[in-house]
């Protein structure tokens, strides 16, 4: 690796080593893929109790200034202007051709102060994109020396409310700024596992103390990136670079639900973002492909890149993410398929090492999402 591409570590690196984590390079960081418990048990632990994830490699960005909401709205197909105070919304950075540059979470901290969390692998490109498109309209502040912890699972709210009682009143997709044991925390009730849970942004110097506080509860175990991926796959959640990319519109990625009414045809602030013409035409007239769940027959996992064929051998699409769902104990996959074949209800097959594995198109998610909506 060249000097300017040095591998980075999160503020919790030493804790991962001490916990016996298997470390792997991911998005320029040395990250824990699993701990001695192993991916399967870490996954199940998160579904049954509470898993603690270090996601400090993700990008944390603040947009500040009197025009920040309007500015962000000009580059996402989402209603930001009417995003209520201390609420979160899922958004997408689109490109000129209607494709997706990244997906992100936006929190309205009030006073035209927005907090964004973006993917680790895209964060440098996102920062450049924000600077070049809206850098003159608001201040784009890339947060350094911060950590991000995710506490996920049905026990997450009990664990957190023991040290921060007011968090029990929070509902899904809301935020609070709290001081826990003298540490300033920005807490959102959100996550990437399909379970109830929280993400906590905290300064790098406090990260270890906060992580230790969570781990002192016997319900909490470290969970690595391996189980993070199998959890999100079961929960049917998109991953950038897999279900989402520069070449497909959000409609083609089955993310129409994320496109706010206010920004669609006839909406109060229709269009006016990069690629709006393509995205709105896909919304109004339909797109040729979509992203669906696949249930492979048998036990052999069908993985990313596997081609999907119909009975006659016509190519119908491709698997975007695939693997094994530890909670449901069978292989599962997500694929981008041509819509005409889904509608025809054709018999479909995945090609794995020259074998044809029968697959059934199923609705996502594979497991029930357990968000706390109050």
């Amino acid at each position: 690796m060249s000097a300017d591409k040095q591998i980075r570590v999160t503020p919790l690196y030493q804790m991962h080593l001490d916990a016996g984590a298997k470390m792997v390079p991911f998005a320029g960081y040395e990250m824990p893929v699993s701990y001695p418990l192993g991916i399967k048990k870490e996954h199940i632990h998160t579904r049954e109790k509470a898993g603690l994830f270090d996601v400090s490699h993700m990008g944390q960005i603040r947009l500040v200034g009197p025009n920040s909401k309007k500015a962000l709205e000009s580059i996402v197909p989402v209603d930001i202007i009417d995003l209520p105070l201390m609420k979160l919304r899922y958004a997408l950075f689109t490109n000129k051709s209607g494709g997706v540059m990244d997906d992100l979470m936006v929190t309205n901290l009030g006073d035209e102060d927005l907090f964004l969390v973006v993917n680790a692998a895209c964060k440098d490109a996102d920062y450049d994109h924000l600077q070049s498109t809206i850098g003159d309209d608001c201040k784009v502040e890339f947060l350094e020396d911060v950590a991000l912890l995710a506490l996920q699972g049905p026990k997450a709210h009990e664990v957190l409310s023991e040290i921060a009682p007011s968090t029990s009143e929070m509902t899904f997709m809301t935020a609070r700024q709290l001081v826990i044991n003298g540490m300033n925390c920005l807490i959102t009730r959100s996550g990437y596992t399909g379970e109830d849970g929280f993400e906590i942004s905290v300064s790098a110097k406090d990260a270890e103390e906060l992580a230790k506080l969570f781990l002192s509860n016997t319900e909490v175990e470290w969970v690595g990136l391996g189980a993070r991926d199998s959890l999100r796959l079961e929960a049917g959640l998109s991953l950038y670079g897999h279900e989402l990319d520069n070449d497909h519109s959000p409609v083609e990625s089955s993310l129409s639900w994320a496109l706010s009414k206010a920004r669609r045809t006839g909406g109060v602030r229709e269009g006016n973002y990069l690629g709006a013409d393509v995205i709105i035409s896909h919304l109004d007239e339909g797109a040729e492909s979509k992203v669906v769940g696949l249930q492979p027959e048998g036990r052999m996992p069908v993985r990313e890149g596997a081609m999907i064929e119909d009975e006659l051998g016509n190519n119908v699409g491709k698997v975007t993410s695939g693997g094994f769902g530890p909670s449901i104990n069978r292989p599962i996959a997500i694929a981008r398929l041509k819509k005409s074949y889904i509608e025809k209800n054709s018999k479909l097959f995945a090609l794995v090492r020259d074998k044809k594995i029968a697959v059934e198109v199923v609705s996502l998610p594979f497991v029930k999402q357990n968000y706390y909506r109050g």
Binding site: G38, I39, K41, H43, G226, D229, S230, R299, P301, F324
Partner: protein
């Protein structure tokens, strides 16, 4: 019975009459993590040294099992198809993969003994 090891982290146990049992080592099993699927070759298949003969799938990824010797597959551990976790639980015993009738028994001489293998994984 003598047991040998390959650089691809397989163990090869001689059973006499040019017959060997092949599995993966504890080291390999730990590296792979939780196994979810094992694809075995067919009984009667010929294999030559260096060829992919089986696929081992963990939650995360698929890896190949590479034939450490040449010969004919005479038996496969079909229990692994339903219980891949046997490899994790008992890689040197119930988690065996295949039995091979050697066509070139001298290939065994190119494999490592236990102490050489232990040095190999230390590196």
């Amino acid at each position: 019975m003598s047991i040998k090891f390959s650089e691809d982290h397989e163990w090869i146990q001689s059973q006499g009459d040019d017959l060997v049992v092949i599995g993966i080592t504890d080291f390999a099993q730990e590296q792979l993590g939780d196994l979810v699927y094992v694809e075995l070759p067919e009984v009667g298949d010929e294999c030559s040294r260096g060829e992919n003969i089986s696929v081992i799938e963990s939650v995360k990824a698929a890896s190949d099992l590479i034939a450490p010797v040449s010969g004919t597959i005479v038996e496969v551990n079909s229990r692994l198809e339903e219980e891949p976790e046997l490899v994790t639980e008992d890689s040197m015993g119930d988690g065996w993969f295949i039995k091979v009738k050697l066509s070139s028994p001298e290939e065994l001489d190119d494999l490592m003994d236990e102490s050489a293998y232990n040095n190999f994984i230390e590196e």
